[in-house]
């Protein structure tokens, strides 16, 4: 393991150019070109790093200023500001390196330096489980802003559920209750939480969101609270430095706000079904537990497909050794059980694999779930209906903007979707060099704008 981590040290990689900074083998025919571009990538990466560092530094300062003028009601912000300042030794070099990469059972890819992670005061539970860790405090402000959407979604979902049309398992648990969560009823707790009053949240890290968790989130308020929203959007469009990528993605998806203790472990408990005891619940929770109880009766037919695809996910990548594949299997299995209407669809293995390269296993689960449940709802289900809709919309857009191209394709008898469908389905992975940076974030802008239109915008050449 340690040896592998060394192999993945980027400085070595840069010397050899056999693998890119993400540990992917550079194809022999591209080696020459990769050598030519390696320095450009490096320069761009440094520029990106500087921009982000500058942004985060300024954010820390303004947070401090804001705190001084705030009422006690928002002392939670003070808490936050403190942690931000404590993070002053922010260093991109420490970036992706979490403890999890050195000793966790999952991937050991992407270890930059085997540095010791600083003790972060707000992270009491970091070391409790190797497969879960929190992101650096300096990103908490972004995380909080993005979590507002998560909260809004919960509220929306709660309303829908009241109307009886809720999508059952979109697991948002903003208000993690303080009540003793025993192991067996964590499922139940989970569902209770969705209906519970979020203001009972006592988790100090999340308390900034408390005033905002009313029936609707006042966006004007959130804009005044996050005046840097626009700048952040520009930064994202310019790409995210590799060292920050995993954690920023988590912040954007609102991983911490989504996380339910033990949910991931319960999904994976060897013979347990995640709906244990669900049968005994009231009719209301039966509605909520719909898919979960379905899962009890339906054989896990996606199992074979996952097995087939494990060795076919980033074949040859050093992080996908036996441990890596096991982690990927757990991640995909957990998601399939979490959302049986989707189960497992090819292409999910790619971004699940990528998430595992960038973050600890359980973080990867919540990130995967956030991305798939919120932004690709209906995309990977049996019917793949949303995927088809997107392709028709995209074709119309291409027709409008690039009539010549479409005429030619028509002439060849080729539909636009034949070419672009796979791009969208794999969220543009495997399409562009990993280090070009921007493409990985193409999806991230819709976390910001809450619309898929920019997904199209970005990819209209």
């Amino acid at each position: 393991m340690k040896a592998k981590a060394a192999v993945l040290n980027p400085s070595l990689i840069v010397l050899e150019h056999k693998r890119d900074a993400y540990g992917f083998a550079v194809r022999p025919q591209h080696l020459q070109r990769y050598r030519e571009y390696a320095n450009i990538y490096k320069e761009e990466e440094e520029e990106r790093s500087d921009r982000w560092k500058d942004f985060l530094d300024r954010q820390a300062e303004s947070a401090q200023l804001a705190v001084n003028g705030l009422s006690t009601k928002e002392d939670s912000t003070i808490l936050h500001a403190e942690t931000t300042l404590q993070d002053a030794d922010f260093s991109l070099e420490n970036g992706v390196t979490g403890d999890y990469l050195n000793d966790k059972k999952g991937f050991d890819g992407l270890t930059e330096n085997v540095t010791q992670k600083e003790d972060e005061p707000m992270e009491a539970k970091t070391h409790r489980a190797q497969i879960w860790s929190e992101i650096r405090p300096s990103l908490h402000a972004i995380e909080e802003m993005m979590s507002l959407r998560v909260v809004k979604k919960i509220n929306g979902m709660r309303n829908e559920q009241d109307a009886g049309v809720g999508k059952p398992l979109s697991s948002i648990e903003e208000g993690r209750p303080a009540k003793g969560a025993s192991e067996e009823d964590s499922e139940e707790e989970f569902y209770d939480v969705e209906r519970s009053d979020p203001t009972q949240d006592v988790h100090s890290n999340e308390s900034v969101t408390v005033p905002l968790t009313g029936a609707t989130v006042d966006m004007a308020y959130s804009e005044s609270l996050f005046p840097w929203n626009e700048e952040l959007e520009c930064l994202v469009q310019g790409g995210v430095p590799m060292a920050l990528r995993g954690e920023l993605w988590q912040a954007f998806v609102g991983v911490r706000a989504r996380r339910v203790e033990k949910y991931y472990q319960d999904l994976l408990a060897p013979d347990s079904k995640p709906g244990d005891g669900a049968e005994h619940k009231s009719s209301e929770s039966d509605i909520i537990n719909g898919p979960t109880t379905d899962f009890l009766c339906v054989p896990e037919k996606w199992k074979g497909q996952i097995e087939k695809d494990l060795p076919r996910t980033f074949p040859g990548h050093p992080a996908l050794d036996e441990d890596g594949r096991n982690a990927l299997r757990r991640l995909l299995t957990a998601y399939a059980r979490h959302n049986p209407s989707v189960g497992y669809c090819q292409a999910m293995n790619f971004f699940a694999g990528l998430l595992l390269l960038l973050m600890p296993e359980e973080n990867a689960f919540w990130a995967l779930m956030g991305i798939l449940d919120d932004y690709f709802d209906g995309y990977y289900s049996e019917e793949m209906i949303e995927s088809q809709v997107d392709q028709l919309v995209f074709e119309e857009l291409v027709r409008e903007r690039f009539p010549k191209l479409v005429n030619h394709l028509d002439y060849l008898g080729v539909q636009v979707a034949w070419v672009t469908g796979p791009w969208f389905l794999s969220i543009f992975m495997n399409m562009l060099p990993w280090e070009s940076g921007q493409f990985l974030e193409s999806g991230m802008c819709f976390f910001l704008k809450e619309t898929e239109s920019c997904y199209f915008e970005q990819h209209l050449l």
Binding site: Q29, Q305, K308, D309, P311, R312, T313, F314, P315, G316, C345, Q346, A347, N349, F350, Y380, S381, E382, E383, M384, S387, Q388, L392, E395, E396, R399, N407, H408, D410, Y411, G413, Q415, A417, W418, G421, P422, L425, S426, N430
Partner: protein, 211 residues
């Protein structure tokens, strides 16, 4: 680096569209790669569809083969059905070491062809892949032959890994297409369009192909 093939691309007598179908993991993409670039490597699963172009001299004709490679996972079938349109040859691939990939051909894939293929005369070919794993074989050659007889298609066993019979597989299919006048006419129609029409036809409505 691609210059050898691009030189060949200047002229060809016929353009044929071939389609690869079959269960996930039977080796469709590997078979295609083995044919188009004489190599074998670990591949990622195909998402949706992929295609490769190969120029070949078969039966004394210069051919341009556009070979479409489809995803095997069940749910992708809703997307892949449209790829059948206009194919002159369809290759059904199974894995000789996994019986269900063979039985699914009659249960599923042959029906897909009936449903979606637009061409009555389109040539079908049954291919049993992975014969390099002879010790793990569970589908006998005889069974393949019987299937081919029943469905009226060509049959060959091959290995994308060792490249055994890979060239033959595509050659036999193409020879049969060349033997079929209606398909031949289609293959050259496109060509004539290419040569004689300066501009591609302007579509009158936004999309006539969406139904």
């Amino acid at each position: 680096m691609d210059s050898p093939s691009s030189q060949e691309s200047v002229g060809f007598d016929y353009l044929f569209k071939l389609l690869l179908i079959g269960d996930s993991g039977v080796g469709k993409s590997s078979l295609l790669l083995s044919f188009t670039s004489d190599s074998f490597q670990d591949l990622s699963p195909t998402i949706g569809v992929d295609f490769k172009v190969k120029y070949a001299d078969i039966g004394g004709k210069k051919l341009k083969l556009a070979i479409w490679d489809t995803a095997g996972q069940e749910r992708f079938r809703t997307l892949t059905s449209s790829y059948y349109r206009g194919a002159q040859g369809i290759i059904m691939v199974y894995d000789v070491t996994r019986r269900e990939t063979f039985t699914n051909l009659s249960d599923i894939w042959a029906k897909e062809i009936d449903l979606y293929s637009t061409n009555q005369d389109c040539i079908k070919m049954l291919v049993g892949n992975k014969v390099d794993k002879e010790s793990e074989r569970v589908v006998m050659k005889k069974e393949g032959i019987n299937f081919a007889r029943e469905y009226g298609c060509l049959f060959i066993e091959c290995s994308a890994k060792t490249r055994l019979n890979v060239q033959q597989c595509f050659e036999e299919l193409v020879l049969k297409i060349l033997d079929t006048p209606s398909l031949l006419a289609e293959g050259s129609k496109v060509l004539k369009k290419n040569i004689f029409k300066q501009k591609p036809p302007q579509p009158d409505t936004s999309s006539s192909s969406c139904c």
